[in-house]
């Protein structure tokens, strides 16, 4: 019954509710009876039907402190004002703290499907505010030609992919040391040595169990009508196409034998031209690629 009474009280006009609701609930709590429900219902009809515009024009009233203005027709309680002031101070403080210390400003590039800071990295010093037709320099992002080459090179030459355990396109000192283990994983037929096919040579997609068709030596249709002599020639060409394969195949018989696998770390270290202990793409790329990238960079 109390809930119903409170509900009906809540339906009264705001100005009436704010002024008398507390007291009316207090009376109900003291003398709650079914008759009071009838009374509140009549009161609701009276307030809604005959007093709808009473105090509808809100008067501006100053708070006791004189610092706040309210649109309501009553003066807020002092405790409510203090509470509001404290909350405002906390919110403002948090906002200032976030703006100056903690939060990183979010940058949006209007019109971009992928808004990220740094997408359009303007050079602020190039903007001249006094000149309306100032030219704004947009720096072109630095492209690493070696990375683009290496991503394909390491995928085509299976040996390189196996050696580069962390896929950073750099054969580190640790990866050089672990080369025998990595190379043995490519030995699909388990004969203890790596053929040119196991090292990555393909004569058409599906021509070899491990062949992914990305390094096709044969024609584009994957024809395999090659004589044994031609096959030997292809293997020799393939093993000589990469400095890494050439370095590993020390006897140049177009396969990496068990002993060559064991001695792989030493063979690889011989490719370390700058002596930093690791092999960069520039140190293991074919000469023609190195030349081309260097010329393009001029």
């Amino acid at each position: 019954m109390r809930v119903l009474y409170a509900f009906l009280l809540r339906l009264h006009p705001r100005h009436f509710r704010e002024r008398f609701a507390e007291e009316m609930m207090a009376i109900f709590d003291e003398a709650g009876s079914f008759q009071l429900l009838g009374d509140i219902l009549v009161s609701l009809i009276r307030q809604r039907a005959f007093r709808p515009n009473q105090q509808s024009a809100p008067a501006r009233m100053a708070s006791p402190s004189g610092m706040f203005q309210t649109l309501d027709t009553y003066t807020p309680r002092r405790s409510a004002l203090i509470q509001g002031a404290a909350l405002s101070a906390i919110f403002f403080g948090a906002l200032v703290f976030a703006a100056t210390n903690g939060a990183r400003p979010i940058k949006f590039l209007i019109g971009s499907p992928d808004p990220r800071p740094g997408l359009l990295n303007l050079t602020r010093s190039s903007i001249e505010p006094a000149v309306p037709d100032a030219t704004v320099r947009v720096p072109t992002p630095a492209v690493d030609p070696w990375r683009g080459f290496a991503s394909k090179y390491f995928r085509i030459i299976y040996v390189l992919g196996a050696l580069d355990a962390n896929h950073d396109y750099v054969i580190s000192a640790e990866e050089i040391a672990a080369a025998p283990v990595a190379l043995r994983q490519l030995d699909l037929d388990g004969d203890g040595k790596l053929s040119a096919e196991e090292a990555g040579m393909c004569l058409g997609a599906g021509s070899f169990p491990g062949c992914r068709g990305e390094n096709t030596v044969g024609d584009e249709h994957g024809r395999m009508e090659w004589s044994p002599d031609q096959m030997e020639r292809f293997r020799a060409v393939f093993m000589g196409s990469s400095p890494v394969l050439a370095a590993l195949d020390t006897d140049h018989n177009s396969e990496i034998s068990a002993s060559e696998i064991r001695n792989a770390p030493a063979a690889l270290r011989r490719l370390d031209l700058n002596g930093d202990g690791k092999l960069l793409p520039v140190e293991i790329a074919p000469d023609s690629v190195v030349r081309e990238i260097l010329l393009r960079g001029r």
Binding site: E23, M24, A26, Q35, I40, S43
Partner: protein, 118 residues
């Protein structure tokens, strides 16, 4: 003052009872309701809806004012105490005087009418 008081007359029964209840002492809403019931010997019971509708008007007219300090001393902090203002007292006095006149006139008319009817 008297002219100002007569502007509010005649008072409706609820307003009259509320002003009469507050004439003796400052009361909160529930006490006014009880007082009205006692005044009328239970014949007139004021509900909270009617009471506060009238109190709202009396407060706006300045016939009654709220004693805010009384809220803190009250057993129920939700209670507010109301007090008759000087204007309210003047209006009540004027209404009582008006009613006395009405009653006197009524008695007079009834006395003079009685023999004729008989």
């Amino acid at each position: 003052m008297k002219e100002q008081a007569t502007e509010f007359l005649p008072l409706n029964p609820a307003t009259l009872h509320i002003l009469l209840a507050l004439a003796g002492e400052d009361l909160h809403g529930y006490a006014i309701m009880q007082h009205v019931a006692e005044q009328s010997e239970g014949r007139y019971k004021l509900g909270p809806g009617t009471l506060y509708d009238n109190l709202q008007r009396l407060l706006d007219q300045g016939l009654v004012k709220e004693r805010a300090k009384e809220r803190e001393r009250s057993a129920d902090p939700r209670r507010r105490y109301y007090r008759l203002t000087a204007v309210g007292r003047g209006v009540l006095t004027a209404e009582v005087a008006r009613l006395e006149t009405v009653i006197r006139e009524a008695k007079l008319h009834l006395q003079t009418a009685r023999p004729g009817r008989a």
